[in-house]
């Protein structure tokens, strides 16, 4: 048995163990911590599946930002743990277990019975890579071949932020999201919030830029930029802008807006919606990605900050 196989067995065992713990542990806070660790192990599995782009996304968004979001919510809901009486009865549990086992068994059977002749789009992606002169096949799919999905996903992000903002109470409408964070100015959090952002911003921009040819891209880079922003906000060094601010709203629509404009431009001058003129493909894609990385960073940060809670005095 090679080292790699051993590593994979341990990885799978720990991941499944953490999954069970996350579901069954008593305290919600522990479940959130378990979910963060679980997300990071899933990112390692993505590396073993040779999908480094997904691994970066999973580590940054699935493990990191989701984890912070869940921890923040768990901390706010502490003390509201319901009594055991609200837990479902034995019959419900048994039925739920049966449904879950059946579903898992059906999926496992499907995995075991996958056909030997594997359908794949990888050769098509490689054969058409010349059209964009980008070397990262995943970026090619995201930004060119399936650009419609990526654009609509930006719209989903925008809808989510509108949904979160619309949950503000009347007196906080259009105000600043989340509580004002305070931290000990001599403490470790403030120290890290001063030390890490310069490095993190460079890494975020690098991951975004290198995504054209190597694993990385706008999502992963944007998530890192968002986390640097949030670090500064949580240390109390800066504050979230009021959601009614005009420049903030401009940044939020910049990504999908530019994407849509380029798409319509393709309909007008090129062969179809979101078709890039061949000579301009790379600069257009990079331009959209620059707008997108800003939009993603702002949107992820604001989604984490939650609904507006403090009104702005005019």
């Amino acid at each position: 048995m090679s080292i790699a196989t051993l590593f994979e067995i341990v990885l799978v065992a720990v991941m499944l163990g953490l999954g069970i713990w996350t579901i069954t542990v008593r305290e919600t806070y522990s479940a959130a911590v378990g979910f963060i660790a679980y997300g990071l192990l899933v990112a390692l599995i993505w590396v073993r599946l040779d999908a480094v782009d997904v691994a970066l996304t999973e580590a940054a968004i699935g493990g990191g930002l989701s984890g912070v979001l869940l921890l923040g919510a768990a901390a706010r809901l502490r003390g509201a743990e319901p009594r055991a009486a609200t837990a479902p009865g034995k019959a419900t549990r048994a039925a739920a277990a049966a449904v879950s086992v059946l579903t898992a068994a059906a999926l496992a059977t499907a995995v075991l019975l996958l056909p030997d002749s594997v359908p794949t789009l990888a050769p098509t992606v490689v054969a058409n890579a010349w059209a964009t002169s980008l070397a990262n096949p995943v970026t090619n799919v995201l930004m060119a071949f399936r650009a419609m999905d990526t654009m609509l996903e930006k719209v989903v992000l925008l809808l989510a932020i509108i949904g979160v903002w619309s949950l503000a109470s009347d007196n906080a409408w259009g105000g600043r999201p989340g509580p004002r964070h305070q931290a000990d100015p001599q403490g470790i959090l403030v120290f890290l919030a001063r030390l890490l952002p310069p490095i993190g911003i460079v890494i975020g921009i690098y991951i975004f830029w290198t995504g054209a040819n190597h694993p990385g891209g706008a999502f992963q880079g944007g998530a890192i930029l968002a986390s640097m922003w949030l670090l500064a906000v949580m240390a109390g060094l800066t504050d979230m802008p009021p959601v009614s601010s005009r420049w903030l709203r401009f940044v939020l629509v910049a990504g999908p807006g530019l994407f849509l404009l380029v798409g319509i431009f393709g309909l007008w001058l090129g062969p179809g919606f979101l078709a890039y003129p061949r000579t301009l493909a790379k600069p257009l894609i990079l331009g959209i990605e620059v707008a997108m990385v800003l939009t993603i960073a702002a949107t992820l940060g604001l989604l984490l900050a939650g609904a507006p809670e403090r009104s702005v005095r005019r």
Binding site: T22, I23, Y38, L49, L70, L77, S100
Partner: protein
């Protein structure tokens, strides 16, 4: 049995755990966490099928990879919206479950503000 198959079975198990937690945990935040667990299992199934589709020097079919990247971001935004709804529910009547049996406890000081 190859490594990819083992990861696939692992993904199926994650879907099962997530589904069980989603049904049996009364607390909404636990349901959100369980739903994320279920989602990560589904994404891993994409990865397993993509890994089997390795060709042309690419270790994992880039099309499902792109779907999963999009999916992870959409799952995050849905989670953020769900948590915002939950916090608003908690602020409004102090409950963190959906059951009609829980009497809403009156809170004198709503959080935030």
């Amino acid at each position: 049995m190859s490594t990819v198959t083992v990861f696939g079975l692992c993904a199926a198990a994650a879907v099962g755990f997530g589904l069980y937690g989603l049904i049996t945990n009364p607390q909404l935040l636990r349901k959100i966490i369980a739903f994320n667990l279920l989602g990560s299992g589904v994404f891993l199934l994409f990865g397993v099928v993509g890994r089997r589709g390795e060709a042309a020097g690419i270790g994992n079919d880039p099309v499902p990879q792109a779907f999963v990247i999009t999916g992870v971001v959409v799952a995050f935004s849905a989670t953020a919206l769900a948590i915002a709804l939950l916090l608003r529910l908690f602020q409004a009547d102090g409950s963190t479950t959906l059951g009609s049996g829980t009497p809403p406890s009156v809170r004198s000081d709503p959080p935030g503000g």
